[in-house]
């Protein structure tokens, strides 16, 4: 067999409809958002829970009521350590994360729920700080926390505080968004620098003896999304917020779901100098580092300029760039044209990006 045949055989396997879960126990890799997480969802959760609302495995499920009203419904849990980091804290993440899952589904967020899991021994003053942050973040975003719950677990069973949020939102009747809308020739837009959140948290853990002013980008995207949809309407084909697993994982999911190839340009992808430096020292590729306030929008080529201008006019999209294009070739794959003049595959990682040794 020659190289090409081997590559085609591997690609066929990779593109198979569902991933298999071969592990005997849950490891941290299953929580990293990469292929191990996908295997957990596709091989264990989906078969047991299968229904038409869940099946698309999108950021939010879309419920259609009898009068034609469409509601988006989403949930997420937050277990970040440390609880506070430059640029945000667990409460801000919990509010923004669920708002963003609704927003990229094309929904105007209506209300959130918050479930708090508290560890025995957590200082009330500390809890009060996070609850205040929860309230303030929700008010800033204009999305109320309409219901909630608290539970306490024994000391040692949680890292102080876990938060789970759910949210509902209203989808405009005309909205048609999703990976199935992606077409060859579409443009890929990114709202700003990548990797800020993940590196901010990594540095804040204090294990690296790295210092630097890296701030999380956590932010609610519903305003930016609303502006984009108002300007470009149905020519916006699909949106994602590239959280865990980063831009690389989000684009891979889109390539796989849409059966298209995505080609991106390394030199067009903005990375803050501090983030690039920290990533370089650790041997981590910023394409795989989490973001909590960035938008990937896939739009028809005819509106690419307008979409970019609209994003740049919004405070959360000032550094927006056109990073790539959808192609028919190499369906399911993401290809990066490197600054150096070569090209390479950008794959989904198995687990967390691991720092290199030397």
């Amino acid at each position: 067999m020659d190289e090409r045949e081997v590559l085609e055989r591997i690609e066929a396997r990779r593109q198979r409809a569902s991933r298999r879960l071969l592990d005997e126990r849950i490891t941290l890799a299953h929580g990293a958002g990469g292929r191990s997480s996908q295997a957990l969802v596709e091989a264990l959760l989906l078969p047991a829970l299968r229904n038409s609302l869940l099946e698309p495995l999108a950021d939010a499920a879309i419920l259609e009521l009898e009068d034609g009203t469409q509601l988006a419904f989403s949930t997420d849990s937050y277990v970040v350590k440390p609880l506070s980091f430059p640029g945000g804290d667990i409460a801000r993440l919990a509010v923004h994360g669920t708002i963003n899952d609704l927003a990229v589904s094309g929904a105007q967020p209506l209300a959130l729920s918050a479930g708090l899991i508290l560890e025995e021994g957590l200082a009330v003053a500390e809890l009060a700080r996070y609850v205040a942050s929860l309230g303030e973040t929700a008010r800033e975003a204009g999305v109320p926390i309409a219901t909630g719950d608290t539970k306490v677990v024994e000391r040692g069973k949680a890292d102080g505080l876990y938060i789970s949020t759910s949210g509902i939102g209203l989808v405009a009747a005309s909205s048609k968004l999703g990976a199935q809308e992606i077409r060859s020739g579409d443009r890929v837009l990114l709202s700003g620098t990548i990797g800020d959140h993940g590196m901010a948290v990594l540095v804040a853990r204090g294990e690296l003896e790295l210092e630097g002013a890296i701030e999380s980008d956590t932010a609610p995207l519903h305003g930016l999304v609303a502006a984009l949809l108002a300007a470009c309407g149905a020519a916006v084909h699909c949106m994602r917020d590239p959280t865990r697993g980063g831009v690389a994982t989000a684009l891979n999911e889109l390539a796989r779901a849409s059966r298209t190839g995505i080609v991106i340009d390394e030199s067009a992808i903005p990375v803050a100098a501090t983030v690039a430096g920290a990533c370089e020292i650790l041997g981590i590729d910023p394409l795989y580092v989490a973001n909590e306030g960035k938008l990937i929008a896939i739009v028809g080529p005819e509106v690419a300029e307008v979409a970019l201008a609209t994003m740049r006019a919004h405070p959360l999209g000032r550094e927006a760039t056109l990073i790539g294009e959808i192609r028919e070739e190499r369906p399911g794959m993401v290809i990066l044209d490197t600054t150096f003049g070569g090209s390479r595959v950008v794959d989904t990682l198995a687990g967390d990006p691991l720092p290199r040794i030397c």
Binding site: E3, L7, I10, A29, S343, L354, R356
Partner: protein
């Protein structure tokens, strides 16, 4: 990050690529081995092969510290990690390496206290913070990482730490190169020498490659332009009929290396009589162990280890890949039974492993061989 953009300039690269193409005699072939996994990673990450004419073939060498650790040693590591009261610390790369009974990550899921650290000094700090626990550091790497392990041993000695030890798996670059050069199945034309290792050992230890085996060596840095320039320098040596050890990485590497780093290694570690390498078998005087004087910090002396030699899985061809005899995609299980999420062999685990680098980044035909879409 001015530094980065300078060494990654596509414009300079294009010019260098033209000069490389001009050196290549049509119809001939040039097989160059990059010894170090860091180079393998850079080659795939930046798509460097796309800038090379089809006549130039890069062969991946044995310089991935994760890849060369045999399964028996990984079993030993897990056996230490699973002992009561132990905090086992490791660089992240080793977490997912498969052993007989799963990886360190699996051992962690079963209850072992396995923690990722970024430096052996972090492990020593953990020992200070946990006086009632035994903290073990999984020391791996070539001459690059050995000095930091050595310094940590010195510091542990100065602090009188009695709950800290290292499981020493430091290996040396020159011995496997001789093994590869002596192997009958490989025709190599030149070597890209490891940059970081050479900051410690200098360029002198490679001189036997030029003098005894008549092959050129160029020690190179890790930015893509470094690698491309070293390929140009190798091709020039070949076309001019020279074989020398040249230093492309002059901004960091000196012929005599770093004497202080070598001195701390010498003080705390000694060369083992023999050491097993994955895929390469036992190689004499190819690894470092802890000197007897520092024996209290040696996990091999402190803990009972199974020490069993475990044969590689029969399907695994990591050995051939590590020697450069097989390209990653030529391995029988590459990409099918052996993938980054379910690795059979070590080359598929570390991002510096040839198979993982090729699987994650390189699954494209080279531009010069690609049919237009």
């Amino acid at each position: 990050m001015k530094h980065l953009s300078e060494y990654r300039s596509g414009e300079i690269a294009a010019g260098l690529a033209e000069r490389i193409a001009a050196l290549v005699e049509p119809g001939s072939s040039y097989k160059l081995m990059e010894i170090c996994g860091g180079h393998t990673h850079a080659i795939y990450r930046h798509g460097i092969e796309d800038l090379l004419p089809a006549e130039v073939q890069l062969v991946h060498g044995p310089g991935c510290p994760v890849c060369v650790i045999p399964m028996g040693r990984q079993d030993d590591a897990i056996a230490i990690a699973e002992q009561d009261g132990v905090i086992f610390t490791t660089f992240a790369d080793m977490l997912r390496v498969p052993a007989t009974n799963g990886s360190l990550l699996d051992a962690k899921a079963r209850g072992a206290d396995v923690r990722m650290v970024y430096s052996p000094l972090d492990a020593l700090r953990l020992a200070r913070e946990n006086p009632d626990r035994q903290v073990v550091f999984f020391a791996i790497g070539f001459e690059t990482t050995a000095p930091s392990t050595a310094l940590t041993l010195l510091r542990a000695g100065a602090e009188g730490a009695n709950n800290f030890s290292i499981f020493c798996n430091h290996v040396l670059v020159p011995p496997p190169l001789r093994a590869i050069l002596d192997a009958p199945d490989l025709q190599l034309d030149g070597f890209i020498g490891p940059g970081h290792v050479s900051t410690v050992i200098g360029t002198q230890p490679y001189e036997f490659i030029a003098s005894e085996y008549r092959k050129p060596v160029v020690v190179a840095g890790f930015e893509p332009l470094d690698v491309l320039q070293s390929i140009y320098m190798l091709l020039r040596q070949l076309t001019e009929g020279r074989c020398e050890v040249e230093n492309q990485y002059v901004r960091v590497v000196r012929r005599e290396g770093n004497e202080r780093a070598l001195a701390v290694i010498e003080e705390t570690m000694e060369v083992r009589d023999t050491f097993e390498w994955r895929g390469l078998g036992f190689i004499e005087r190819s690894a470092l162990g802890v000197r007897e004087r520092w024996g209290q910090f040696d996990a091999e002396r402190r803990f009972e280890l199974p020490g069993t030699r475990v044969a590689d899985p029969p399907a695994c061809q990591c050995g051939e890949v590590l020697r450069g005899a097989l390209r990653p995609w030529e391995c029988k299980v590459f990409g099918t039974a052996c993938t980054p999420e379910r690795p059979i062999g070590t080359c598929m685990v570390s991002s510096e492993g040839a198979c993982a680098a090729y699987y994650n980044y390189g699954r494209l035909e080279r531009r010069s061989e690609r049919t237009p879409a």
